[in-house]
């Protein structure tokens, strides 16, 4: 077997990329193409499926197989494809409106089933393609065209939502942090089952600087909590902050104020810890966990389950025969 050497260019399609200048999607596209080239995925086996929205144009720009489907339904389309064709590497791309609003049902059920698909949700906390309405992740009080007096909708916490839907992999990264994004994509690809990756993405037209706490030079070091499996959770310019459990919740403290043994050691296989960490930041205006919040390979995937049942049925009943099937209820003969 020969290994094909790819470059990022091998994954660039001939289509002109048309997002607004300065859109975070460009950086994410570059990260994904960079990851793909290095991933070892055979190009013709990669499929990108999207719904509707700015982010959903993504498949057109990838020189792989792809489908730009309909509003919110990409996880369902991908579920059918991955179930039919477990040999493929199936990726879903969409925005927060697409996946948490119109497609919320499909997102949670894909995660629950643990279909072997990789879901990349570009979260910019706004509707871009429909030009600036608040989204299911917009903060309360958000003033937009559809909420001139401020949004009174309470937002989803995408990480908590994914974990509540039994996601076996949930991670978060930032559009501009290409290196970290590639690492997360690698981990998502290596994971057996559904992977949910939230990528904070700046919409410089309708919601500029929504993530400034994480991306601005002044604050970013004190607000990015990089999670690493097996490592104590410390962060800050001089690692002066830490996360501990206090009164049953993950809590941020000054590292100096607690005993070293009290600092939480990240265990990505621990669902309770993952959920607690997901609650640390509801909206990235302060310290926010980045990295793999949960990764647990112990649960079988849906598509493997389907394949196993097919194989088992063939083993016990033999290859199906139509002529026998239509006679299976008993027949009689008229002469």
């Amino acid at each position: 077997m020969t290994t094909i050497e790819y470059t990022r260019g091998d994954f660039q399609s001939d289509q002109e990329v048309r997002w607004c200048p300065g859109c975070g999607d460009y950086t994410i596209l570059a990260s994904v193409q960079k990851f793909m080239a290095a991933s070892g995925i055979v190009k013709e086996n990669a499929v990108f499926i999207s719904g509707i929205g700015c982010a959903a144009r993504f498949p057109y720009y990838m020189s792989t197989y792809g489908m730009h489907s309909i509003h919110g339904r990409a996880p369902a389309v991908a579920t059918g494809l991955a179930t039919a064709r477990p040999d493929l590497s199936v990726w879903v791309v969409g925005g927060d409106g697409d996946m948490m609003s119109i497609g919320g049902n499909h997102l949670i059920h894909a995660l629950r089933r643990n279909v072997n698909i990789k879901i990349l949700m570009f979260n910019n906390q706004i509707y871009g393609l429909t030009k600036g309405q608040y989204s299911p992740t917009s903060e309360v009080g958000k003033r937009t065209k559809s909420s001139p007096m401020g949004s009174i909708d309470y937002p989803f916490n995408p990480m908590s939502l994914a974990l509540g839907a039994e996601a076996t992999f949930a991670a978060r990264t930032l559009d501009m942090d290409t290196k970290h994004t590639v690492e997360i994509l690698e981990a998502a690809y290596a994971h057996q089952g559904s992977a949910f990756v939230e990528i904070y993405q700046n919409c410089n037209v309708f919601n500029d600087k929504a993530f400034i706490a994480l991306t601005g030079k002044e604050d970013r070091d004190s607000n990015r909590i990089y999670l690493e499996h097996g490592k104590p959770i410390r962060f800050g310019q001089d690692m002066e902050k830490a996360v501990i459990f206090h009164n049953g919740e993950a809590t941020i403290v000054d590292a100096a104020s607690v005993d070293e043994t009290a600092i939480l050691v990240h265990d990505q296989t621990n669902m309770t810890m993952a959920f607690a960490l997901s609650r640390l930041s509801h909206s990235p205006t302060g310290p926010t966990p980045l990295g793999i919040i949960r990764s647990d390979d112990s649960r079988p995937t849906y598509d493997d389950g389907v394949s196993a049942q097919l194989a088992s049925a063939k083993a016990t009943k033999g290859e199906g025969n139509i002529d026998d099937l239509i006679r299976s209820l008993g027949t009689w003969t008229v002469k």
Binding site: K43, I70, G80, A84, R85, H109, G320, L325
Partner: protein, 619 residues
């Protein structure tokens, strides 16, 4: 021991008989009816059935909404319908009597479970006096049986106890009917043994009750004059089975996938009366069938589209309300020109309507229920056995033309049953699919919207094929390249091309066969499940020496190429439909014919007499 054939009594032979079992929805009437049907099929009768049951899982026991019934017509000739008026009504309680008596023919027979006719049940059914004693059943032949105490007596040595004791009283009714109509008991006892093999006491109780019912008939023979029977029908030679439409549709899908050489993917969300297709397909994974029970109707079709993109024969099945939810995704399948079968087992009414009742009222929804200009082929099944062929035909069209196809069934087809003359072994057609394997563009690229010059189908290139990487989607496609295009002329061209592709299928379907032996001047044209009733009505009119022609449509879009010519060659055209006039609108619009409609939306199939009367009026 009771012998299971009539030896000492020579029954009186009838050419046909219509029996309706009616009881509370917990009384097992569907099961009794189905067993009677199978025993009659094994005996060689032709038959047709009409099950009717409440949509509620469990309406209050003993009430009118809780009544469940099963009608079967058995005959010694090739009958077509379950019949208009029952000859016999089995009434397990007062509510069953009250809600079914009006249908019984004059002088018909009523078999009564007398013990259910006590004060409380009579009140629940709205009877002020007991019909068994107030003379209201004069004019019928009434057979009274204390079924509950006789059932208790029959099962007392079998080991069943408590609530299970009365469970088998439907077998008493069945045994009694078996005696009355000289049906063999063996098919039923064999079925019971197979069904309750792991619960021998339950099997014993059911068999004991079945025989008790039969014995009751035998020993009280004097009160019933004599037993009657219906001789085997003279059906065309061949091998037969008794089939319901949902099963034969499921089998047709498996067969069609086999004919295409593709694995079958069925995405569905449970909905009455389509669920049995999902149930049946999920039993046959050894055929390579993948079933996906989705979170909703939209996911069901979306997953099927994903499977179609991946090269599977993708099918999604639903009923009316589900089709509405699928419509956006159906347009996507149309725009991306992927093969997909969308089954709609129509049911009565808008919204939730009448989920267990028949209607043919989604034709216009199937025709127009999408956004933008998006015509699709429509194929309809006309009887339980025909659903097998209809499924294969839908698959043939979808694959050959790379298009979604709507396959219409309805509650009558889905839940009714009839004898089916099985196709010969190894008789499957061969429409093996050939996926694209090589680039088709001038620069060695793959252009997804290059078309076959004859069918206008695009090529099907599936992920995993090197060098054919391409993107499809819902935005308008540029011709040939498939790139997104807002070019006005291109949109006109692509819209016209997609419409033409569907219209062109008219050249690839058989011209309509006109059944007109006598040179009639009046034509009856129908579609779907009204086939047997229309045929029976036409036959009756012809038996009086009056000519009438009949056409029944399998293809509703496009219509067969000769349809306009056929319609215009008759002076009068009648279009009976279980809706308020949907096919007739299409025919009038397409062919400018002054057709007359016969329409019914009462949640019941047509009676033969209704169509017969209308034909006589028109001739």
């Amino acid at each position: 021991m009771v012998s299971t054939t009539i030896e000492d009594v020579e029954p009186e032979f009838l050419d046909k008989v219509i029996i309706r079992f009616a009881g509370d929805s917990g009384d097992g009437m569907q099961l009794a009816g189905n067993r009677f049907t199978d025993a009659s099929a094994a005996f060689g009768n032709d038959l047709a059935t009409f099950p009717s049951f409440p949509a509620e899982i469990r309406a209050p026991a003993g009430t009118l909404p809780g009544v469940s019934s099963f009608q079967v017509q058995i005959a010694d000739f090739d009958i077509l319908t379950a019949g208009d008026e029952p000859d016999v009504l089995v009434a397990m309680n007062p509510a069953a009597l009250k809600s079914n008596l009006a249908d019984l023919r004059p002088m018909g027979t009523i078999v009564i479970n007398t013990e259910a006719f006590e004060e409380r049940n009579l009140a629940k059914a709205g009877y002020e006096t007991n019909p068994l004693t107030d003379g209201s059943l004069d004019g019928y032949k009434v057979i009274e049986a204390p079924m509950e105490s006789l059932t208790k007596e029959a099962v007392k040595d079998t080991g069943v106890s408590g609530r299970d004791v009365l469970r088998s009283k439907n077998m008493f009714a069945l045994g009694l009917m078996a005696w009355l109509y000289s049906r063999p008991l063996e098919p039923t006892t064999q079925w019971i043994e197979a069904k309750f093999g792991k619960k021998p006491e339950v099997a014993a109780a059911n068999i004991a009750t079945l025989k008790a019912g039969y014995n009751f008939g035998l020993t009280t023979e004097a009160t019933m004059n004599s037993a009657v029977s219906v001789k085997p029908a003279k059906l065309p030679p061949g091998e037969y089975t008794t089939i319901s439409g949902n099963l034969s549709l499921a089998w047709g899908l498996i067969a069609g996938a086999k004919a295409a050489g593709l694995p079958l993917f069925y995405g569905s969300y449970p909905i009455t009366p389509a669920s049995d297709i999902l149930h049946e397909l999920s039993r046959h994974k050894n055929f390579g069938v993948r079933t996906f029970q989705a979170e909703d109707e939209i996911a069901a079709i979306s997953a099927s589209i994903g499977a179609a993109f991946g090269g599977h024969l993708a099918v999604t099945g639903t009923s009316g309300p589900g089709l509405a939810l699928k419509s956006e995704a159906l347009s996507l399948a149309m725009m991306t020109e992927l093969p997909l079968i969308v089954i709609n087992v129509q049911r009565g009414g808008p919204s939730t309507g009448l989920p267990t009742k028949p209607e043919q009222s989604d034709l216009l929804f199937a025709m127009y229920g999408r956004h933008g200009e998006s015509p699709l082929p429509i194929v309809a099944a006309s009887s339980p056995s025909d659903a097998y062929d209809a499924a294969i035909e839908a698959i043939r069209i979808a694959l050959k033309y790379m298009t979604p196809v709507l396959l219409l069934s309805d509650n009558s087809v889905a839940t009714g049953s009839e004898p089916w003359r099985l196709p010969e072994r190894d008789s499957l057609p061969d429409f093996t699919v050939r996926f694209a394997t090589k680039p088709n563009g001038p620069a060695g690229e793959f252009l997804p919207y290059v078309r076959d010059p004859l069918t206008f189908a695009r090529q099907w290139a599936v992920p995993g094929t090197p060098g054919l990487e391409h993107r499809i989607g819902g935005l308008e496609k540029e011709e040939v390249s498939g790139n997104v295009s807002y070019n006005p002329a291109n949109h006109q061209l692509m819209t016209d091309t997609r419409a033409w592709k569907v219209a062109n299928i008219a050249n690839d379907i058989p011209p309509v066969a006109v059944d007109d032996p006598d040179g009639a001047r009046t034509l009856v044209i129908g579609w779907g499940s009204t086939l047997p009733v229309i045929k029976a009505a036409v036959r009756r009119v012809r038996n009086d020496g009056k000519p009438v022609a009949h056409v029944h449509l399998r293809h509703l879009n496009p219509f067969p190429a000769n349809l306009g010519e056929v319609l215009r060659s008759y002076e009068r055209v009648l279009v009976p439909e279980l809706n308020n006039g949907q096919l007739i609108r299409l025919l009038r619009a397409e062919y400018l014919v002054d057709a007359v409609g016969l329409n019914k939306v009462s949640a019941l199939p047509f009676k033969v007499t209704e169509i017969e009367t209308k034909i006589r009026e028109m001739i």
